[in-house]
């Protein structure tokens, strides 16, 4: 935290006044939010290089569309934590429910506890590190970025995945359509090492060498289109040749 810390008590002031202050803030400012009491859309749409600490649990879309600076939540978060994050960092000490980091385009999301279903759904470049487990359909239709899971992954991991990469240290209940295990090469160990270091204590000292990598088999990228007419034409030519 840098400079003077401005405190917003959501038991006293509205979410609107908090978010407006965050949107109006200049680089370097620091904020503390107390008594969030599960409020939705806390600290969403931040555009400057500021620090925000939320002491307590938040509702949906905390730090949604985050663009710069750091948001740290000391508690749990409901659906859509850091959805569509563009850059900067969002770090939560507790658990995040569904769709954490959904459609994130960049930056870093760190979940200290577990993350529920569809963690990293449609992610587009964000890096997500989860200290615990992730729920079913995580990284569904994930397009780009890295999902690092220090615990286990529930069913249908990486279903219909594009070019995102998934790293899991524990067990994978099942892989979704078109998601396959891939070789861990030195560059992947570098990526893992960088992300685990960035996640700090949330990663629990996990070793990059303990992870397995999953990604797209790229079999669903294009439609499979038959052409029986062409085969029939070939067969007709063969019959004609044979008949001569």
């Amino acid at each position: 935290m840098r400079g003077d810390v401005q405190t917003f008590d959501l038991a006293e002031v509205t979410r609107r006044s908090l978010n407006q202050a965050l949107h109006d803030a200049t680089d370097g400012a620091s904020f503390e939010v107390v008594n969030p009491r599960g409020a939705h859309a806390v600290a969403c749409g931040i555009t400057s290089d500021i620090d925000v600490v939320v002491r307590g649990s938040v509702g949906y879309y905390c730090a949604g569309m985050h663009q710069q600076g750091r948001v740290r939540v000391e508690g749990n978060a409901s659906t859509g934590l850091a959805e569509n994050i563009m850059s900067g960092e969002v770090h939560i000490t507790g658990n995040a429910t569904m769709s954490a980091g959904a459609t994130g385009c960049g930056g870093l999301l760190v979940v200290g506890g577990n993350s529920g279903a569809r963690c990293g759904i449609s992610m587009k470049g964000v890096d997500i590190v989860v200290g615990g487990n992730v729920g079913h359909m995580s990284a569904f239709m994930a397009q780009a970025g890295n999902l690092v899971v220090c615990g286990d992954a529930a069913a249908d991991l990486g279903d219909s995945i594009y070019e995102a990469q998934i790293f899991v240290r524990g067990d994978v209940e099942s892989l979704g359509a078109d998601c396959v295990e891939k070789e861990v090469r030195p560059e992947h160990l570098d990526t893992l090492g960088r992300l685990l270091a960035a996640a700090g204590a949330a990663a629990g000292g996990a070793d990059p060498g303990d992870f397995r990598r999953y990604g797209s088999a790229r079999r669903l990228y294009n439609f499979t289109i038959d052409d029986v007419d062409a085969l029939a034409a070939e067969a007709a030519v063969e019959r004609e040749v044979a008949g001569r």
Binding site: H40, G45, Y60, T79, T103, M141
Partner: protein, 461 residues
């Protein structure tokens, strides 16, 4: 029939004969099956050859009840018409003045529906922006995000917030004049977008964070909310991120318009866009286009019923009706049924040159004809509109095409005024169901207006 002399007297070769159109008695025994007509047979053969469902653009082509099945009653002894050139007939529409710091002000009650860069060329998007801006109305982005060109050339730009979130950028969200949360569209309520590999060029791929050349199938459901309670929270987030500056619309395909509209109002929408099944698409399964959703004429009254019951009709929440709107008559009828504006997509593309007969020889090479072109997914559009091919898209002159669209929008508006004045209305939004009669029992039941010449509204208490 070994001797086929049919048509030779007119100089036509045998190959050109349409057996069902000829006057030659030799063919009178032929009877096309209503169930298995040639179109059906062609589709079965195509499916048997390829093993893949038919994908195409455009909207539903089947016959269905439409706004054409309604007529205006006009003025009579008890209703006074307004003078066409002497008495004012307002056309402006305001959206979001209840909640947004910057409500949307439209000069005309016709908007341009969401169509993406990617499905359309950059030139076509620019033309839509130029035409709409000249006419004083809005354009809308689509799946794939906002381009600098469309922002620059659209004085009022609505930013679509879609399930795929392709190209979704909070800076663009804040740069928009309104946000439209897309739940569905008329061509495919319950389906996601499609953009086939031929159109995923490097620029399109980069905007959507996808590999080039893939057959892209967009998500059909939002990734971070499900259901109306979540949507209310999502709209709250969008308002917070944009500091409550701009209106928020919710767009639904016409499926259950009464409930969908009520739930959109409950979720906090400033406008509800209801898109009937005639609504177009750049690419979707044919089975979706033709068999899912209900016609526009059936959807509008149900949406209006919900708005009236909630006490927000023509007040806090505006209704934009879309799907097969082609003329000022369609616009006026949509308004009379209770919509605040009508939205056009397919008609706008035709105005800027889609299906242009000037390219007939090229349509023929593609196995089609001007007036039938629907393969928007192929990227081979001779008119240069639904393509990313640089040579084809260069055929669209954004300034001239924009001028055509502005002209067309002007005609729609004047036609709407003509009909409003004929019914004695000094503002197009004063049109009302009482001004209408239905020509068919179906239309009477759907539009909830009396069958012409009777006071009978089928299904009314």
């Amino acid at each position: 029939m070994t001797e086929r002399s049919v048509g030779t007297s007119t100089g036509t070769s045998d190959d050109d004969i349409d057996p069902l159109a000829t006057s030659d008695p030799d063919y009178w025994h032929l009877r096309e099956s209503y169930t298995f007509d040639r179109n059906v047979i062609a589709e079965i053969r195509r499916a048997a050859n390829t093993g893949i469902y038919r994908i195409r653009g455009w909207g539903a082509k089947r016959r269905m009840p439409t706004l054409d099945d309604l007529v205006f009653l006009g003025a009579s002894m008890s209703r006074y018409p307004l003078e066409g050139y002497r008495e004012a007939c307002g056309t402006d529409v305001v959206i979001g003045e209840d909640r947004a710091e910057r409500p949307v002000h439209l000069r005309i009650p016709v908007t341009i529906a969401g169509m993406s860069f990617g499905s359309l060329s950059a030139q076509a998007k620019e033309a839509l922006g130029r035409g709409a801006s000249a006419a004083g109305t809005s354009t809308t982005t689509g799946d794939g995000g906002m381009t600098a060109e469309e922002r620059e050339h659209s004085s009022v730009l609505v930013y679509q917030y879609l399930p795929s979130r392709y190209g979704m950028n909070p800076d663009d969200l804040r740069a928009a004049d309104a946000i439209e949360v897309v739940v569905g569209q008329g061509a495919k309520p319950g389906g996601g977008g499609m953009l086939l590999g031929q159109k995923i060029t490097e620029r399109v791929a980069e905007m959507r964070t996808l590999p080039t050349g893939i057959d892209q199938r967009s998500a059909c459901r939002h990734p971070d909310w499900t259901g109306p309670d979540d949507l209310e929270i999502k709209i709250g987030e969008l308002r917070e991120i944009t500091d409550w500056q701009v209106p928020i619309y919710v767009k639904v395909g016409a499926a259950r318009p009464y409930y969908d509209t009520a739930l959109a109002v409950k979720a906090g929408a400033d406008a509800v866009v209801v898109d009937g099944m005639q609504g177009g698409t750049a690419a979707t399964q044919d089975v979706f286009i033709e068999h899912v959703g209900i016609p526009t004429i059936a959807a509008i009254p149900e949406a209006v019923r919900a708005l009236r019951e909630l006490g927000v009709h023509r007040r806090e929440v505006k209704l934009i009706a879309a799907g097969g709107v082609r003329s000022g008559a369609d616009v006026a009828k949509a308004l009379a049924l209770g919509a605040d504006a009508a939205s056009i997509g397919t008609a706008a593309l035709i105005a800027i040159g889609d299906n242009d007969p000037a390219y007939e020889s090229e349509y023929r090479e593609l196995g089609t004809s001007a007036g039938y072109w629907e393969d928007f997914q192929s990227g081979t559009d001779p008119a240069g509109i639904t393509t990313q091919d640089p040579e084809l898209s260069a055929r669209v002159d954004p300034e001239l095409a924009g001028r055509r669209l502005a002209n067309y929008l002007q005609v729609l508006t004047i036609e709407t005024q003509i009909l409003a004045r004929a019914n004695g209305k000094s503002h197009v939004l004063n049109l009302e169901p009482e001004d209408l009669a239905a020509l068919t029992v179906e239309a009477a039941a759907m539009a909830k207006v009396p069958l012409a010449g009777t006071s009978w509204v089928p299904g009314a208490d």
